[in-house]
């Protein structure tokens, strides 16, 4: 079970992404962070914290549950319905630049669902995608704007992002399909 990112590396990576956000958007005006549940949410909050340290400005942060927008529910092969959790976006996304945050970018289907979900809340000026890990194997024409780490993987491998807030520790590991 090789560890590909440890706590220090995750911390430095998110700091670097925060700087890229400020550079690319020339500040943080009109920006808002939206984390995709579950692990995109703490990542979004950490980036918001770093952005405040850099610019002294608060960036509104919300969380998005995409379960009701997935393209694989209702298909009998998938199993019982996944648990639906609450979306919590306490600000208007109209005319803002939304930074959509997820832990792993893989097929792109989660991002597709997140884009559909987000657009039901209004009409953002732009949506940019932040991922901690891009593991390749896209099935849709989707590309991240900020990537923590490009990680070439085989389809049968599993990329696990563990975060302090949810899992009690910070690390990214790759597991091989049939057990390590």
């Amino acid at each position: 079970m090789p560890v590909v990112m440890d706590a220090d590396r995750i911390g430095r990576t998110l700091t670097r992404i925060a700087h890229e956000i400020v550079e690319r958007n020339k500040g943080t005006d009109d920006l808002a962070l939206v984390g995709v549940r579950t692990r995109g949410v703490p990542i979004a909050r950490r980036i918001a914290r770093t952005l405040r340290e850099i610019t002294g400005q608060d960036v509104p942060t919300g969380s998005l549950d995409i379960t009701l927008y997935r393209d694989d529910t209702m298909r009998h092969a998938v199993g019982a319905q996944p648990l639906v959790r609450k979306t919590d976006i306490q600000f208007s996304i109209d005319n803002r630049k939304i930074l959509l945050v997820d832990d792993v970018l893989y097929t792109g289907r989660t991002t597709r669902a997140a884009l559909d979900a987000l657009i039901d809340y209004g009409r953002p000026k732009a949506i940019q995608l932040i991922v901690l890990v891009d593991r390749g194997h896209r099935e849709l024409p989707i590309k991240a704007d900020y990537v923590g780490k490009n990680l070439p993987t085989a389809p049968e491998e599993i990329v696990q992002v563990r975060l302090l807030e949810i899992d009690g520790e910070d690390e990214v590991v790759v597991e091989t399909g049939g057990g390590a």
Partner: protein, 326 residues
């Protein structure tokens, strides 16, 4: 009830609504009930968005088959179905072939030949939904069957109580009214006792079913006893249409002895919730000033009904015949 996402992850691992139909509360486990209520919280948020619609049931067809008059329940199911993007059709019995003598099974099988995914059934006969679930491949959702059960009403009642009180366990809940004919009562007794509430039921002796204590509730005909220190008072409608005999002298007499007046309400806890599944008979089971007063959550119940029905529709749409989700 503050649940972290970690707890929710664990909950997800142990629970899912693995059944084809929702026929009653009796067969649900406390975990399944909590799952519906938790899911309904997320569904309630959908109703607050500028675009109150999600694609979860896109391509699914839901038939609302109502053999009894209904405004609230039918409308509530229809809105819930539409918010989940299902295609819906309503069959009102007065204008259908039922008036030409078609049986329930024949009507259902003919509908089923057009491949709906779910049938929401309201019927005057107890057990009609169980019968249909054996005949039909579609998921059956009980929207009230005779004097048996009305599961989505009990779920929305529980959701409304939990939203205010943050729990159900240990609450004193007084249910006052026509106990004999009420399917809402039966579903509520099952649900509230499963989740640990202290349930008191009250009505004229002629309207208390003989074996009611078997269900773990306290029965009384003294309304003051039932409402004293209650956290929740739930009124039930006097169902004149189901009464074949004289169960009490007059409606005025009923109101005098059992009607929920402000005076009686003040015997309950200061933060009491007043509930009624509707339709209300003002001046019979409930005084207007109580129904419209600050303790009344009757319209919250109606609002929450949509979220709870969305949760039930969504959870049942997953079906049963498959293994654990990845």
């Amino acid at each position: 009830m503050s649940t972290t996402s970690q707890e929710l992850d664990q909950k997800q691992a142990v629970t899912a609504l693995r059944r084809k139909d929702l026929l009653g509360i009796a067969e649900l486990s406390p975990q399944e009930i909590e799952l519906v209520l938790d899911t309904a919280e997320a569904m309630k948020e959908v109703g607050t968005r500028p675009i109150k619609k999600v694609p979860a049931l896109r391509g699914k067809t839901v038939v609302n088959l109502f053999y009894e008059p209904s405004t609230r329940t039918r409308t509530s199911f229809e809105i819930a179905e539409k918010r989940l993007s299902a295609d819906t059709l309503n069959i009102a019995i007065g204008t259908s072939s039922v008036v030409k003598g078609e049986t329930l099974a024949d009507t259902a099988l003919n509908l089923e030949a057009m491949s709906p995914d779910m049938i929401v059934l309201r019927h005057a006969s107890s057990g009609a939904c169980h019968f249909l679930s054996r005949v039909c491949r579609s998921a059956i959702i009980n929207a009230g069957d005779g004097m048996h059960e009305h599961p989505t009403q009990a779920l929305l009642d529980a959701f409304t109580i939990r939203e205010r009180k943050k729990r159900l366990a240990g609450l004193k809940i007084a249910i006052v009214g026509d106990l004999l004919h009420s399917r809402v009562l039966r579903s509520n007794i099952h649900l509230l006792t499963k989740l640990g509430a202290d349930v008191w039921v009250c009505g004229p002796p002629t309207l208390i079913p003989a074996d009611i204590r078997r269900f773990g509730v306290t029965a009384t005909s003294v309304v003051e006893e039932a409402v004293r220190d209650a956290d929740v008072i739930m009124l039930l409608r006097i169902q004149l249409e189901r009464m074949e005999g004289a169960y009490f002298p007059s409606l005025r007499e009923y109101f005098r002895v059992f009607g929920m007046t402000e005076e009686r309400m003040l015997m309950a806890r200061p933060d009491v919730m007043i509930m009624h599944p509707g339709p209300m008979n003002r001046g019979v089971e409930i005084a207007s000033e109580v129904a419209d007063g600050p303790y009344s959550v009757i319209l919250d119940q109606v609002a929450n009904g949509v979220a709870v029905r969305m949760a039930v529709l969504y959870l049942l749409a997953g079906g049963v015949e498959h293994e654990e989700a990845a």
